[in-house]
Structures are given as C-alpha cells and as structure tokens.
C-alpha cells in the first residue's frame, strides 16, 4: 500500500503517475490522468459504467487495479476505435442522460471486435452487465445489431 511511480499505457500513450499499485484504474484515469469519459457508477463492478478494455478485453475499471494492467494496453472511450458503432449509436438515438453510454459502447465494441456478426443471444450476453437507468436498452441492441449487419454486408 505504498505510493510508487508507475507507467500506464492508455489509448496508445504512456502516462507516468505516482499512485498506490492497488488503486483502481478508474480512479487513476479520472483523478490523475484526467480522462473523465469513463464513469463511476457503483464502485463494485456491478453496473458497467466504468468499462474499459485491457488488451482488448472488457474489464471493470473500478475493480481492476493499476498493478493488473502493468505492461498492458488500456483503452478508454476516448481512444476506442469504434467509428461505425458510434455512428449507429447516434443514428439510433441511443443516449438519454448518457452517463452509462461510455461503458455500453465499450462493452459493445469489445463484442464486435471478437464477434463481428453476433446473434441476439450473444448481444444479450455481452451487454448483460451494463445498467442503463434511462432504459435505453432497446436502442442499444438495435444499434449493435445495425453495426453488425453492416459488418456482415462489408
């Protein structure tokens, strides 16, 4: 539990920070590096608002410690390559308050990266851990499905 100097690779850039290696990545992103797109929701890995990618896999930023991502590539909503998904997100008018949407997009992007044309069931499974209190679920699914359809046609 001592503060030490660490290097964090976020969105392709190296950040040198002084922090406890047990600190959750979410806190480092928001309070030290200044990337506020990844949100705090529950602090317990239950809502999905803090979803990031670690070497491409979706992880909860609030439960992932700095020492767990040493030498790994962390990707946040600010850096994820998801232009097509974002376009569908806008086209289908997904966001309402928008607070959970970074986490939703990160989960969806991780799904499409590994499964470009997912079934309805696969979408359900991949998005099962993301809460949207505004209830934008139908639009989230429609946007993912539309992006997947474009993948299939490409």
């Amino acid at each position: 539990m001592t503060i030490s100097t660490q290097t964090l690779l976020v969105n392709g850039k190296n950040f040198t920070i002084n922090a406890d290696p047990n600190m959750p990545v979410l806190w480092a992103l928001r309070d030290i590096i200044g990337l506020s797109g990844t949100k705090f929701g529950c602090g317990s890995g239950l809502c999905g608002a803090c979803t990031i990618h670690v070497d491409g896999a979706p992880m909860r930023g609030c439960l992932t410690s700095l020492k767990q991502v040493v030498g790994k590539q962390v990707t946040t909503i600010e850096g994820v390559e998801a232009a097509q998904l974002r376009a569908k997100w806008a086209e289908y008018n997904v966001p309402q308050c928008g607070y959970c949407q970074a986490g939703q997009i990160m989960s969806a992007a991780a799904l499409l990266a590994t499964t470009p044309t997912p079934t309805d069931g696969q979408i359900d499974e991949a998005m099962a851990g993301n809460i949207c209190r505004c209830g934008t679920y139908p639009r989230i699914k429609a946007a993912i499905k539309a992006a997947a359809t474009e993948n299939a046609e490409a």
Partner: protein
C-alpha cells in the same frame, strides 16, 4: 491543464441576496475533442438534417466520452481555481435509535487523519444552517439521537487524494468509528407531526355532471385537519354549515356510510402497499467548491435538477453567517447531470458541499459513492393505500370511491406534501367518479428522505386503481375492457376535485385500439400453446391504463430566441436537461416559426432571465384573488418567477415559452428584415404581408419576391438595429396567463406575462438608452389576465393517457417473471422529435418493470439508511428484464388545432405496473397487493 480561458467576465451576473452577488458560470464543453475522438466526419457535420434532428443535440459528446457531467469537474479543470484538489467525506449515522456520542478517529493511522472535522458545533458557532425548506439539525449534535437513518454527523476534510481514499475505506463501514450511547425507543420521527394532509371530496349534482357539483374541492375550496400527535382531526361534519370543511365532512361521511351499506352496489375493498425505491440515477451526487478568500468569492459546482433553488437558498445561507461575511460573490457551475429522476430536485446534498468549502483550505470535492447515495439520496415514497370502489351491479358504473392513503415521507419533509397531494388527486386514474372521498396524509419516519421521484405519487395510486379495476372485472365476471368503457372519463366529465380536464379525452379510443391488438385477441390461444410448449412456465396477459397529470399549477417557464449577425440562431432555456432531450426538442420546435433549428441551445439558464426584471411576492398556490388582481397591475410582477425542471415539464410548459420567443422573433426580426430587403428591391409594401410569407429550405419566401437566406435576414436585422433577440416568460395555473404587449407598433395579445427584447448592433442611441443592465428592453404589458386563484383547487387539469399490455411467463419452480413482449399506446399530443418520445416510452417501461418486479428497500433499519446498500442487493432492471427485443408502441396522432405537446416522461412507467400484476394473476391465479412481487412471493403463493 488550463487549456481554455475563462475570466470573471464570462460569468453571468446574477441577483444579489443579502449582500452576496450570485453568478452562474458557463458549463465545460469539449466539442472539439468529441469531433476528434473517432467519429465519422459526416456524422460530425450536422445534427440537423432534412428538416429534422438526425440525432440528439449533444450525441457526439455522449458517444465519445467528451460529455462533461457534474461529477467530472475537478479543480484542475476550472480556470481561476488552484489546481490543488481536497476531498470531503460526510460521516452519516447508520442507526437512529441510539444517542450519538462522537467519532473515534484513532482507528485510522495518524498520517492519514483529516485536517478538519466539521461538526454541529462548528455550524452553531458560525450560525450556519440549512435553508428552512430542508429543516434543521444539518449535522447532529453530540448527545442527540439521529432524526433518521443516515443523519449527517460530521464532514471530514482531507488534503491528499490517497489519504482520503484510504481513510474513507477504513472508516465508512467501521462499526466502532461512530460512538453511540443508550438505545432510545421509540424513534424521534414518531413524535413529529405529519408533514401534510389532504382531503379531496366531491359529490356530483343530482342533475348530472354538467350541473354544478353538490360539493367539490374545486368549488368549495380546500380544507385541512388539525394534528393531534400524528393523528388527523378533521372538522366535524355538518350539512348545514357554510364552512367547506364541515360541509365536506358531511358529504364524505355520507359516502362512506353508503359504501358500507348499499346492497345494490358491488364494493371492492382492498389494501395496497408500495415500497421505498432508490432512483439510482447512474451519476451519484457530487459537488466541488472553492472558497477564494482573496476575491471574496465562493465557487461551487453542483449536480442538481433545481439550480434556481440553490441560487436563492445558498445565497441566503451565506448571507446570515459571520463566517461568510467576507463572501461577496457566489459563482455557481450547474453542469449537465447524469440522470435525475427527481432525486436531484431540491436535494440537500450541495449544502453539505458548501459547508465543506467554507472550512477547506483549497478546492474541495464531495462525491457520494453508491453506498452513500443509497443511504442519503432522495427516495420514492412508500404508499399504504386502502381503497373502496363501489360499482352499480347492473350498469357497472362506479358509484363512489373512498381512499385512505398513508405516505411515508422519511426523515425530512422535502416535497412530501406535494407528492402526497398529487398521489391523492391521481387516484381516480382514467375513471369518472360521481362521488369520492380521498384522504391522504404523509408522516415523518426514520427512513431516508423521500422526494419528487419519477411518478410523483401518481405511480403508487394509479397502479392501485388499475389493480382494482382488473380484480373488479374478474369478480363481476365482465370483460375488463367493458368495465373500463363503462367508467372511462369522456369530454365534460370532472375529475375527483371537480375540475374539468383540458383537451379532448380519448380514453375510449385507446381502449378500442388496445382491445384489437393480437396480444389481447389471441391471449387464450397463445397461453394454451405456450404452456404446452413450456410445462415449467405459465403464460399470462394483463394491461393497465392510466392518465398522468403533468404540471404543477404554478409553472413559470422562460425562454430566449435570438440571432447573431453571422446568421446563427441561438436558443436559451430555463430548463435543465436530464436526458429527456429537452435541448434537442427546443432546438427543433423553433423551426416551425423561424425556418430552421437552433444552432446552439443553452440550457439551465436560470438567472439570464433576470433581464425581464420580474419579481414575485407570495406563494402562488395560496395567494388571494384580491392580491393577484392588485399585483397584476404591476408590469414586473408575476405569481412565480421560476419553477423546477422535471421530466414531464419541458414538452408542454418549456415549449410554450420557447415557441412564443421564436414566434415573436419571426414577427419582429426576420419578417421585418425580409420586408426591408424586398422593399429595397422595389417591392410594394401592400404586397409584403406576413401571413403570406413561408419558410422553404431555410429561406423565407413570398410569392413574387426572391427567397432570402436566413443568414441574410439576421445580418439585415442587425444592420437595421431592430429586435434581434426575444425573451419570454409565461405563467400557467392550469391555464396560461395572457397579456397585451406592443413590441414595435402593434398591440398584440400573447399567452405570456413578460417579454423583453434586445436590439441589433445597428440600433440607434435612443434605443440603446432604453436598455437595462442586461442589454434588454422590457416591453411593458398593457393589460394582464392571470388564471383565477380558484384553479389552485383544481389541483390538476393536464393529463397524458397511456395504456400498456404485456405478456409474461411465470416460472413455476423459480418464481421468476419473464416479460415476453409488450405494447404501449400513448397520446403524446404534438410530437417535436419522435425518437425522443420513443426513448421515453422504452425507458419508462424499464423503470416500471423495476417497480413492479425488482426494486425494494426495506422500510426499517435494514433499508438503505443503514449505508450498506449497493446494486448487489438492490436489483435495477437490466436489458434482459423487460423483453427488450419485443417492445412495441403506438402513438396516437394529435388532433390538429387542439393538441399541444404533452408531458410524458413519467406516465410511460406506470401502466406496466398493474399490467404485470394482472398478467401474473392470469398466469398463476394469485393476486398480489404489494410491490414488488418477488419470485419468493410467487413461490409462496403457488405452493
């Protein structure tokens, strides 16, 4: 990190309260980063395409992580603040039955101790208190018993993030951190009088509904009980009395006696219990503040739905304390918020942030984690409802309705009185009641404070009414549509208060539509098929139909529409945007008048509208007619300067102010500019008539003249120095106030009570001399008509109806209820942006599913107030919980010329509740009278 410039000049000058000048600060925006963050160029080009919004106004920021929410603000982000960020932690009591004896901070290491512990003694010594609306005991004094679970005890300040986090982790759940003494029973709350009590009584005239009621709350006026302890003492019944209370009680007692004795009536007598609900907006409340002693300025960042309230109340708090006598300026950042659902409306939270800022030695951040939000955030009120509903056995017509509603308001009063009132007046649902006696009262308790959460009381009472109608139809062995048609209100019917709803009532039309739907028509065949294919499940269909009020009876929206010399259309509104799309809808609706959507929309412009110089002097709900008549002669007076933002307020009320600002902008700016251009081109004045001008593809057209681009009109208006910006204020007490105004030459009537205008850069010195400090000229109103104060007794007159039908499958082994598909019918009035309405329908449905099946907080010491709740225990609906692939809806088209946009963000969550209850009954043959209905409840029932 200060990557953009902001100086004091950028703050918008405000009112002065007790010597403290209040400013609002602009919000942080990062649109450039959003565009650069990997969105397609075509996407970033324009949000408004082909005459309609292609997506939400702020969609790009929201999908790139660049949207800045209140919780995101750090000291380093804000110009004029030091970069240092301190952190605050509120210590709250997890019990309410023992004497508080102080804190034991020895349980954390010396090197991570807080540098300041703010206690009740500090507040007392410095005369710091909560605003009266929130009550007393802001921090509990040592030696006293907490008023409620979660009562705030102290605020700890830390100067290092790491120390703060370590200390908070060690302290928040430590059993010995807060020291308690003797156990005290009963709870302090049990000795406090009710927060409010209401009685709604009506008896139809023997001549029918069209005649004047024999008695009604609307006609005879409201009356209130005396409180004896926590009991209500209503006036003594006297039929011969002229006193509204005595006469009303006679009418009420007569109905209650007849309901218990009339043998020709079928009376359904049921009790319903609803639960405490956590709004669970995904952004927990947060605050950042900096007391800059050098400039005598307190800067704050708040996450609230009601910043206007904070402006006023915080100013007063600062003005009265010796500690803050050095503060001459209060600068309020009121950023975008990540969900509200009522939980950020008049929340007590920011006042604790203010206190932390005053004692901190650098900018200090206070942010609830989810446990703290559960413990301290505003809740939805639990309702205990005893209803008796009497039907004529032959005609199936409702003969009378009696209701006793007891509401748990929690630890502080907050909006409990009005939530109770709205719940009571909503009880009737869509039905006509010839006689009714509804009493509703709200009691304090040791639970966390309940507030204005989505539904505002009507969810609880209307769901109960629909559960009764479904059960009554079953017991009477009549089709539930038939029973509803026999009792649904039609045009001319009065509500339980005796007031006539406004607009066309289309309940029967909606029943007809729903009855024809395949979910209903094929329900028996579908059940047989499903049950056969799924022997471990049972299929059921149910529906609910409600009509939710919207409006407060004192809505006071403000709006601004103006043009820049460069041709940009700017809209500024009073409302706060919480995700419903207010900014998008307001930007869009102006195109009806000015030919294009707004280029920018600035929301939450609370004090901007001080330019209209309006003042209020009394409570609009209880002022006398005489006072209103007298004050209406003062052209700067209004019954209410502002009203709170909530999800059901923007579509109708905010739109009214915005569209009239746009309308006047067309009349006073754009058309006159066009006329000048056409005259210069040799046109004849008599042929240039405003009624014949039309917008086509962003150009103003008139037969026989060259079309003119919008930007050219703006340039011309500025060059001419005519009106280039219009500010409006309106007041609605179940009708709009209207007045006569002469903006330029012609006296015109508008449904507004204030207009102010600004002029173009070419305005003459003479015109400029007429402008006030804010650069506006207030247009004197020449006559004014406000809605009669009697309309306060109407309690509500605007309604949005919504019917939801649902198919469920109940798992016989687990008791889990699965939503298979649903269809919702809604009458939204005129729709500004279809996708926004669709989003509200889908979202409301999900929240309703949570209310009926999942969400529950115990109403005792084991509930959220104990500080141990998070979403591991509290089930918020996920996508899989609401049949997400099979949600469908029908929006009734508006009636041209009659329908305006209706408030609908709340109604859509309500009918799914009784629909699911009924569907479970159809699947299990078991009725439930409490919410939520859990798998365990079902398993117990079907054992």
């Amino acid at each position: 990190m200060k990557d953009w410039a902001l100086s004091r000049r950028d703050f918008i000058k405000k009112c002065v309260i007790g010597g403290v000048t209040v400013y609002s600060a602009p919000m942080l925006f990062k649109p450039e980063e959003a565009i650069a963050a990997g969105v397609k160029e075509s996407l970033a080009q324009s949000w408004f395409q082909d005459g309609k919004p292609a997506f939400r106004f702020d969609a790009i920021e929201k999908i790139t992580g660049q949207k800045i929410y209140g919780r995101d603000y750090r000291a380093v982000d804000i110009p004029s603040w030091p970069d240092t960020q301190h952190h605050a932690f509120i210590v709250r009591s997890h019990i309410a039955n023992k004497v508080y004896l102080g804190l034991d901070l020895d349980i954390i290491p010396a090197d991570i101790q807080p540098y300041k512990i703010i206690t009740a003694e500090d507040l007392k010594n410095n005369e710091l208190t909560l605003p009266p609306f929130y009550g007393d005991n802001m921090l509990l004094e040592v030696g006293k018993v907490p008023d409620y679970l979660g009562h705030e005890l102290a605020i700890l300040l830390f100067d290092k993030f790491d120390d703060f986090i370590k200390a908070k982790l060690l302290l928040q759940f430590h059993e010995q951190f807060v020291k308690y003494g003797d156990e005290v029973v009963p709870y302090t709350a049990l000795s406090r009088p009710p927060y409010a009590a209401w009685r709604i009584i009506r008896q139809e005239s023997a001549q029918g509904v069209a005649a004047e009621d024999q008695y009604s709350t609307f006609s005879n006026g409201q009356f209130f009980p005396k409180y004896v302890g926590q009991k209500l003492e209503w006036p003594k019944a006297n039929n011969d009395s002229k006193d509204a209370g005595e006469k009303g009680m006679f009418i009420a007692n007569a109905l209650r006696q007849e309901i218990d004795s009339n043998k020709s009536w079928f009376v359904l007598d049921k009790h319903y219990q609803t639960q405490s609900i956590e709004p669970m907006m995904l952004e927990p409340e947060a605050f950042n503040g900096f007391y800059d002693k050098k400039s005598q300025t307190l800067h704050v960042v708040i996450t609230t739905q009601s910043p206007q309230d904070f402006f006023q109340q915080a100013g007063k708090v600062l003005a009265q304390s010796p500690l803050t006598k050095g503060i001459t300026n209060l600068v309020v950042h009121s950023p975008y918020i990540g969900g509200g659902f009522g939980a950020k409306d008049h929340t007590i939270f920011p006042y604790y942030g203010v206190i932390a800022s005053l004692f901190a030695t650098a900018p200090v951040r206070l942010a609830n984690n989810r446990f703290e939000q559960f413990q301290s955030g505003l809740k939805r009120h639990p309702f205990s409802i005893s209803n008796k509903l009497a039907f004529d056995k032959k005609t199936l017509k409702i003969q009378g309705f009696v209701s006793d509603i007891k509401v748990d308001g929690g630890g502080r009063e907050n909006f409990s009185p009005s939530v109770t009132s709205v719940g009571a007046s909503a009880s009737q649902g869509i039905y006509y009641m010839p006689r009714n006696d509804i009493q509703a009262w709200c009691l304090p308790s040791h639970l966390p404070t309940a507030g204005s959460m989505r539904g505002y009381g009507s969810l609880q009472t209307m769901a109960a009414m629909e559960m009764m109608m479904n059960e009554a139809a079953d017991t009477l062995a009549v089709d539930p549509f038939t029973l509803r048609r026999a009792n649904a209100m039609v045009d001319g019917d009065k509500n339980t208060q005796g007031a006539t709803p406004l607009g066309k009532i289309r309940y029967v039309e909606m029943l007809d539509l729903a009855e024809k739907h395949p979910i209903w028509q094929q329900r028996d065949a579908n059940k047989a098929k499903f049950d056969k294919a799924n022997p471990d499940k049972s299929f059921g269909v149910g529906f609910g139909f409600v009509s939710k009020d919207y409006g407060t009876g004192a809505n006071a929206p403000s709006a601004y529409a103006g043009v820049t010399p460069e041709g940009k259309l700017v809209v500024k509104i009073f409302s706060v945007e919480m995700g419903t799309g207010t900014d998008t809808s307001q930007a869009t609706l102006v195109s009806d008048y000015v030919g294009k959507a707004a280029d920018t929309v600035e929301i939450a412009q609370i004090k901007l509208f001080d330019a209209m110089e309006l003042f209020e002097d009394d409570n609009p709900y209880i002022m006398s007619q005489e006072h209103q008549d007298k004050m209406a002669n003062d052209p700067r007076w209004t019954p209410a300067v502002v009203s709170a933002s909530s999800a059901s307020q923007s579509a109708f009320f905010q739109s009214h102010a915005t569209k009239h600002a746009a309308k006047i902008l067309f009349e006073e700016t754009l058309f006159p500019a066009a006329k000048a251009i056409w005259l210069e081109a040799g046109g004849k004045a008599e042929k240039i008539l405003i009624d014949n001008a039309q917008w086509q593809n962003g150009q103003l057209t008139l037969e026989g003249f060259a079309p003119i681009e919008f930007s050219l009109l703006c340039k011309k208006a500025h060059a001419l120095g005519i009106v280039t910006g219009v500010m409006t204020h309106a007041f609605n007490r179940w009708e709009w106030a209207d007045g006569d105004f002469k903006v330029s030459n012609q006296l015109k009537n508008y449904p507004l009570d204030a207009i102010a205008v600004e002029y173009g850069i070419g305005a003459s010195k003479a015109i400029k001399a007429t402008l006030n400090k804010q650069g506006f000229k207030v247009i004197p109103r020449q006559s004014m008509r406000y809605p009669k104060v009697q309309l306060n007794s109407a309690m509500v007159r605007y309604y949005t109806p919504c019917l939801t039908m649902v198919e469920v499958a109940v798992h016989k082994v687990s008791g889990v209820v699965e939503i298979l598909r649903s269809h919702t019918w809604i009458e939204p009035g005129k729709v500004h942006v279809k996708q926004l309405v669709e989003g509200q329908i889908e979202g409301g449905l999900t929240m309703g599913v949570g209310h009926v099946l999942h969400e529950y907080l115990p109403a005792d010491e084991t509930g959220a107030g104990n500080g141990e709740w998070n979403i591991d225990r509290y089930k918020v609906p996920f996508a899989k919980d609401n049949g997400v692939w099979n949600i469908d809806y029908t929006m009734l088209p508006p009636i041209e010329g009659i329908d305006e946009s209706k408030g609908l963000a709340e109604v859509v969550m309500i009918p799914i509740v009784p629909a699911v209850v009924e569907a479970i009954y159809q699947a299990t043959n078991k009725r439930f009278y409490h919410l939520p209905i859990t798998p365990n409840d079902i398993l117990e029932a079907i054992k």
